[in-house]
Amino acid sequence: MKAIHVNWTAPFFHKERLRGHGFRTTREINSTAYDVPDYQILYTILSALRWNLLNGPIDLYTDSVGFSFYKQLGIDGLYNNINIDFLNNLKDVDPALFWTSGKIQALRNEREPFVFLDQDFIVRDKIPESFYENELGIGHWEIPRGHYYFTKEQWEREIKHMEFPENYNIYAYSPNTSFLYFNNPKIVDEYVDWHEKMIVNNGDHVPEWFWLATDQGILGHVIREGKYETATLTDRVFLADNDYGNASTQKFGYSEQWYYPMSFDPSKDRIEWEHVWLAKIVYGLDPELLKNDTQRFFDEIWAFGGSKYLQHFRFSKYWNAEKHGK
């Protein structure tokens, strides 16, 4: 199955306006020239490499700056095709407010069945063919609660440029959009149409939570309105704003990150995948985890035949003669 990565660099050039703790590392880059931390480059390499090994070709949507950056690093060869025209010409969107718009709007270019992978989503096994029998597939669902999820009243109070969508169900699960499979272009069109409508804020202030509504929230709405049966890589459901609890804190009522619904298919969990996602937030607080994970990504790329993508001098600090040979 063909996959796509999307790297839209425009949000970087508005980094002082990027909101949320997830962008701490980007805001801290002391440069007006495009750059990303090593660990982000490494998980990008790993994501593309591992997909290509077991699941199929992978294409890249980026812009001239992103293309140049990947060429400089010697990683442009990871991709079967690279499209820079679409994102170079993406206009009429505020990249700081809607920083995932590049990826969402790029989806519409694909008319044949495909998988979208966030660059921090690493699939280590072959996805079973049965997964692709549905019109749509996602990594997993999320239980919406907390900061990024809204009530109807909140929307009506804080969003000026459009009305609360009819039938929108704020209590229903939200699809995580780091891994998406589409085999029906009609669903892509409905999703992107809604997204495009939502991002035209006419300069009005929008609260930080709104970007997620234009990304995950509205896809859930499209799924329910169209009654599109949706496959998942795992039946585990992520609980937003959880207590990071575990089996031993269960007895005190602390919530955990993941839950199974009443009926679920545990066999799905044999497929190994990793979404770096939450760790990116923790990296800012735990330098040791960041260091270890960065080295782990490097080692795995090396082990799976990707050493040619690690030749840039900025990766030399992760190289170890004993572990990696000459």
Binding site: F13, T32, A33, Y34, D63, S64, V65, F67, S68, F69, K71, Q72, D76, I82, I84, N88, F313, R314, K326
Partner: protein, 269 residues
Amino acid sequence: MENKIVIVRALWGSTERALNEVFSKPVFSNEVVYVWGLENQQMLIERGFKTVLMGEGSTEPEYSTVLLQYYHKLAVIERAGKDYPEYIFLDWDCYLLRPLDDYFYQTLREGNDVQVTLYAYDDKPYIGIPELILCKGNERYNNSIPEDLANYIVGQEIQLRKYSWKHENLLVSPNFCFFYSRRPGIASELIQIAKKNKVENCVEEHAMFLWANCTMDEFIEKYEPKVLQGTSDDTRIFMHLYDYENDPVIKINKYILQRVNKTIYFKHI
């Protein structure tokens, strides 16, 4: 990316290294490659590049030696100067770091009609290059430099000592990774100067040094572009030989930055 000033590139030769540097598609909407070799041209066309064929063979016979190969760059800007009133010549290893905005064009157009940046070598025997190649951890050449490369390094040292400014313990030279011009006939002047002086090695850089005919400070004031560095701070090609403060890259960039306020759009590795 739409660009208001044409980006000009050069491709000659058929070495793996030269061909590997070529992008798999144009970075800019207004980008032209002046190319030697029918096969090279075909490869570029297949990748979507606009091309101008400079010769059917992969090099110009007159410049087909390791010591004269950079005449190709001068031949390219000579032709580009006839095709376009204003252009930016860009090496393939000069990478875009940010969108080319109005400030970029304004900065270039308010500056001199010719703009070239500077870089520096260490003022040491063999300008430090054999140390770089033979240093621990770089076994690329198995501690034995190929004859062509050795000849090039020896020649480069001789040429550079003639065509550079001595500054502290550095030999400072124009760097032709980026060349902006809206000056008619500049390339012909550079070629004439190079030939008259029998210049070799980094022919285009030495010719630029001779053409400018000024002190280093005057060069910086007149010709140093505000949009890139000759070699980027974070590239530091000699980084395993020098601590940060003593690295020739850092030293010359620091000196220039004290005199020219830069917004960096390209990184030259």
